[in-house]
Amino acid sequence: MRALFRGFRGRALLVAAVVALTAAPAAGCGPGGGDPAGRTVLTVGLFGSFGYEEAGLYDAYTRLHPDVVIKQTSIQRNENYYPQLLTHLVSDSGLADVQAVEAINIAEVTATQADRLEDLGRAPGVRRADFLPWKWRQATTRDGRTVGLGTDIGPQAVCYRKDLFARAGLPTDRDAVGRLWAGDWRRYLGTGKRYRDRAPAGTSFVDSASGVLSAITGGSARRYYDEDGTVVYKSNPAVREAWDIAAAFATEGLTARLQQFTPSWDQAYANGTFATVSCPAWMLGYIEDKAGPAAEDVWDVAAAPRPANWGGSFLVVPKSGRHRAEAARLAAWLTAPAQQARLFERRGSFPSASAAHALPAVAGARHPYFGDAPIGRIFTRAARGVPVTILGPKDLVIAQNLADVGMLQVDQRGRRPEDGWDAAVRTIDNALDL
C-alpha cells in the first residue's frame, strides 16, 4: 500500500497543511494505546452478536489481567462489517487488536490476508488439540500458519412447533419427530407433504426453500469447491441433489415463501405461520426473541435428518495492531474451552473447541424456552457427525446467489426449478469471473 503512495506524498502533504487549518477542532481524538492509568487498552472488533460482554467474559479477563482494559466495537451486519474489515486489512489501518471473521469469509481471509495476520497456532495458551480438527484447518494456510481461532460452530437441528404438529396429526415428542425424517432430507420433504395435507389454516411446513437449501448443503464435505480449490458447484451431484430437494419444497407448496433474516421472517415467527425451520445452535436465541414469550414451550428442537453445519466464526489478530502479544493472549483465552462452554450456556453459541463438548455446561445443557430440550446432547451429536467441508474463497458469493437469486425465484416468483438454477448459475459465473 505504502509503495502506491510514494508519488502522492507531495499532494498529501499539501492537503495535510490545508487541513490543519480547517480541521483543528476535529483533531486529537484518535484511538490511544493506553488509558490514563497506564493499562493496556485492547480493542475487539466484532459483527453481530457474540455476547462476550454480556456473558461477562471481558470482566473475567480483566480480573485475571488487571493491566488490561478491553473495548469492544461491533457492527450488527456482516455485510457491513466484512467490507470494512477487508479495506482496513489491505491498508493496515483502523483495525482492532482482535477482529472476528465469519466462517463463510474465513477461506478468503486465510487465502489473501494471511501475511497481515498473526500466526495464532504458535501463540502461547493455544492448544490445537482443544479444537475440532476441521475448524482448525479452515483458518490454516497451505504453509501451516493458523491465522484464526475458532469461536463457535453451527451444528444443525430442526426446530418445530408442537402445537402445529399436533393439529396436523404429527407426533410432537422430539425423539419421535426426529425419527420422522432421520437419515434423509427426502423424508423431511415427505413429512412436509403429510403436514400439508392436514395443515392448520394459514400455516406452512417450513419457512423458506432457501433455508432448506442451506441446511442440506451444510452437510456435504464437498460443496462448492473440490480439494484442489476448483469451483465445482455446478457439476457437484451433492449440490444438485440439495437444490432439487429444496426446490421441491417450493413447488409442492410447503414453504411460507419467506426470506430469512428479513422483517417478514421475524413477523412470521411472531405469528407462528410456519411449523419447522432448520436451526443451527446460534439460531435458538433468535427464535426465542422473535417468537416471543407467547410461544414459550411451543417450539421444540429435534435432530436434523443428517448432521450439517451452518455458520460459526473465528478470531484473528492483525499484525498492524499495537499490542499483538496481548491481543493473541486475549483471543486464545476467549476461544479456550471453558469460555466457549460458558458462551454456549449463556447464548447458545456451540463451541468449536471439542474439549468443551464434554463439559457439563455443554453436555448437560437444556433450553427452557424450547420445552427444556436437551440441546447439549442434540447439538453435540450433530457436531460429531458434521463432515469436514471444503471451503473456498468465494463460498459467500456462491451460497448467497444460489439462495437469494436462484432458490428465491423458485420460492417467491414461482419460477421452474431449472430456470432458477440457470439464473443462479449466470449470476455466479458473472460474479466469479475476474
Binding site: 502522492f8 477487508l86 489491505v90 489473501t112 422483517p263 413477523q267 437469486v405 417467491q412 449470476t427 475476474l434
Partner: protein, 319 residues
C-alpha cells in the same frame, strides 16, 4: 447548458485613474482563481484523486483483497459491459426508477414551493415539516418503508385489503418493487427540492409580477410566464442534481432488499447501476470491474448532459 446569463464584471471603465485601473485589472484577472482555490485544493485531493484512481483501476484486473496487485487488461472491463446482461438490466432499472422517482418529485416540489410561497400562518412549521423526510436517513426511511410495504403484515397491504384489493407482493414484482423504491426516494426528496424552489421564488423581483398583473395576466399565466422563467436556473439545477442522484441511486434499493445483499431482488428487478457497482466492488470484490461500471455511469451522464446541451443549443438557434 451550464453557461446561463453570465455577464462580465471586468468591463473597462476608462475614466478611472490609471493606478486604480491597473489594480482593478490585476484583481479582475487573478481574483477568480483566489475564489476557486479553496474548493479546488480539496477537490484535487478528495475528488480528482479518487476519480483518476478509479479510471486507472478500471483498466486493470484488481481485487479488493489486494488493491495494489494490478494486472493490465486494457479496455476489457469496458468491452465486457457490452455483453453483460446484468449491466444492461441495471441500466434499464436505473432509468425507469429514475423517471418514476424524479418527474413526480420535481413537479410536486414546484407545487409545494408555490404553496409555501403564500403568506401563511405557521410558515416555519410547514417548512420544517416539508424537510422532515429529508432529515430522515436513508437507512431509517427504508427500514420503515420495508415494513410498510411488507407482503404479509405490511400496513399498505392491510389498507389495500380494507379497500377490497388483494395483497401485493411489493418486493417481487418488477414494477411494484420499482414503485416502492421510487416512493422512498420521492418521500425523502420532494420537500428538499420544494425548499430550494422556495428560496429561488423569494428572489424573484416583485415588479415582474406587478407588471404582469397590470397587463391582466391570470395567476396561471403569471406562473408560466414569470415564475417558471425566473426559476429556470434553479429548475435546471434541480434537474441536474436529481438526475445525478437517480443515476447513483443505491441506498434505497440496497436496504429495500433486506438481508439479501446487493442483488436488488431475486431477479435483479430493482438492481440499479449504483447497486450493481456495489455488488461487483464490495461483494464480489472486483475493484477493476466496479471501477469500469463507475466510469461507464460517469460517461453516460456526460453523454446525457451533452445531448441536453445540444438540444438546448438547437432550440435556441431555431428559435
Amino acid at each position: 447548458m451550464l453557461s446561463g446569463t453570465t455577464a462580465p464584471v471586468s468591463g473597462p471603465r476608462a475614466e478611472r485613474t490609471a493606478r486604480r485601473g491597473r489594480t482593478h485589472r490585476w484583481a479582475a484577472r487573478w481574483s477568480p482563481y483566489a475564489y476557486l482555490a479553496p474548493f479546488f485544493v480539496f477537490f484535487a485531493a478528495f475528488g480528482l484523486f479518487p476519480l483518476l484512481y478509479t479510471g486507472w483501476a478500471s483498466l486493470h484486473r484488481v481485487e479488493l483483497t489486494a488493491p495494489t496487485d494490478m494486472e493490465w487488461v486494457g479496455l476489457r472491463n469496458y468491452s465486457r459491459l457490452l455483453t453483460d446482461e446484468f449491466f444492461w438490466n441495471a441500466l434499464r432499472n436505473t432509468v425507469t426508477i429514475g423517471l418514476m422517482s424524479t418527474v413526480p418529485q420535481l413537479l410536486m416540489a414546484l407545487g409545494i414551493a408555490h404553496l409555501l410561497h403564500h403568506r401563511l400562518r405557521g410558515s416555519t412549521f410547514f417548512r420544517v415539516v416539508a424537510l422532515t423526510p429529508y432529515a430522515t436517513s436513508v437507512a431509517a426511511a427504508t427500514l420503515v418503508f420495508v415494513l410498510l410495504f411488507g407482503r404479509d403484515f405490511g400496513l399498505v397491504n392491510w389498507a389495500l385489503g380494507l379497500a377490497g384489493a388483494d395483497p401485493v407482493d411489493w418486493q417481487n414484482g418488477r414494477w411494484t418493487s420499482q414503485f416502492a423504491v421510487s416512493t422512498i426516494v420521492i418521500w425523502r426528496w420532494t420537500g428538499y427540492n420544494a425548499l430550494i424552489y422556495l428560496a429561488a421564488l423569494q428572489a424573484v423581483p416583485g415588479e415582474l409580477y406587478e407588471s404582469a398583473a397590470l397587463d391582466g395576466a391570470s395567476r396561471w399565466r403569471q406562473f408560466a410566464h414569470v415564475t417558471v422563467p425566473s426559476l429556470r436556473p434553479t429548475i435546471l439545477f434541480t434537474c441536474v442534481v436529481s438526475t445525478i442522484g437517480a443515476t447513483q441511486l443505491f441506498g434505497e434499493p440496497l436496504l429495500f432488499n433486506g438481508s439479501a445483499g446487493a442483488t436488488g431482488g431475486s431477479d435483479h428487478q430493482f438492481q440499479t447501476l449504483g447497486l450493481y457497482l456495489y455488488e461487483q466492488g464490495w461483494v464480489n470484490l472486483h475493484l477493476g470491474r466496479a471501477s469500469a461500471i463507475a466510469w461507464a455511469m460517469f460517461l453516460i451522464l456526460l453523454l446525457a448532459g451533452a445531448v441536453v446541451a445540444l438540444a438546448g443549443a438547437y432550440r435556441r438557434r431555431t428559435g
